[in-house]
Symmetry: C2
Subunit: 276 residues, 2 copies
Amino acid sequence: MRQEGESIVNGQRTDALAIGNRGLHYGDGLFETLVAAKGQPLLWDRHWQRLAQGCERLDLVLPAPGAIRAAIAELAGAEPFCAVKIMVTRAAQARGYRPSGRGTDWIVSTHPWMPPTEERHAGVQATWCRLRLATPNACAGMKTLNRLEQVLAQREWKPPVREGLMQDPQGLVIEGTMSNIFVAKAGGLATPPLTDCGIAGVMRAAVIDAAMRHAIPVSIEPLTRARIEQADELFLTNSLIGIWPVRDLAGHAFDVGPVSQRLLAILQAQGDAAFS
Amino acid sequence: MRQEGESIVNGQRTDALAIGNRGLHYGDGLFETLVAAKGQPLLWDRHWQRLAQGCERLDLVLPAPGAIRAAIAELAGAEPFCAVKIMVTRAAQARGYRPSGRGTDWIVSTHPWMPPTEERHAGVQATWCRLRLATPNACAGMKTLNRLEQVLAQREWKPPVREGLMQDPQGLVIEGTMSNIFVAKAGGLATPPLTDCGIAGVMRAAVIDAAMRHAIPVSIEPLTRARIEQADELFLTNSLIGIWPVRDLAGHAFDVGPVSQRLLAILQAQGDAAFS
């Protein structure tokens, strides 16, 4: 299995980055985390589209997609599966918040990963985080390198708990620390809007599209804690976990229900063996 | 004059950092920016105390102060003045938000700097930023590496404007993009609380202390835009600028008044020639 930390920076195999890189100094950059199966990145078009949209919002020059694909193939080509992290950051410049140049650095790294099949079918334990997501977040929706809220929130719980749900200052439930959330009720799905805070996950978009194509109604609407606890099913999504049903949320039990399992089967049938 | 980018990482002269460093991945770290005069860091005790408090909040191991002082002396010793940036970040670990180890990396770098004497006495032009600081910020007060709000806000204006003032979602004025703010009215000072967002600047604390020692009353209280515009004086503080009076705030004129100039003289008299 792939070791931690193999990486390519701007096309060169290296494990070091220039100290002046603005991703380090300010979190001035974006990232994507995805699965590669034998060097082929899954949900590539969606990941690339989100990265391109983020670069436009941050006024970052988008790298050439061919260079990134080549780096993924080089690092991940021999592996049945691995996790790939792509970072695009503003390059080193003179000190100060204001960007003074157009340079970007891109980094591709690979990490050990196997499909979490058991969690997808048996479900996981989750909890509530006390930390509230700050609003209005000027970077709402984007997967930026400013991730201290998630780092701090993950300190609130430990295994066997696998995820913590986060609320905004008004108490509306937004997302997990590393995942988006869906509830199923009476056969339909709901997931929170991410306009004031939160990250618009690629798997969230894939699940919404899959549901709509299969006549499962999806509503994007504010979700209170009560709405979550009264749901028939609660599940988490991201590009690595795929779909994880929640079977226990801080002592509140949920069934691993038919909607999450049907959506998993749809993702698999689309050809993504990683989502078995 | 010192070139951009000379740096020492964990005691070694280098211009490269391990790609897995969590400062890069998540902004999981803190920084201090200060003036060194012939290798002597100014306001050192205050900077070190803030760094230590931040490390405690983020559960980061504080480096040995002697190692940092030695790095500053090595890089900055020959210069009459230079800017020093200290970063303390969580070191490289396995992928994921949750810290899995106690390692920290520290970085000291030096940058060209000369005292901005003209700005301190003639004043500067400032403006209002549209970007609102998100609240409640779990890292309020700390100088973390999550600084995209400041990067985005500085895109809103250009020289000759030198600073932009930022408000919270309720419209209360919190700080500048790179400075704290004070208003003077009827001989007393006021500056906003930084409990929900903002960075508690070292120079802000030094100015508050200097004012109190010289019988200038200081109030820490919420400031509306109207309170700012009705003030006798408005000035900005940080460790590099010292004190900058604002003479024009988006077309609203202020006098460069006696309070800012008296505080500048007090800082100078404390022995900080950099604050001339």
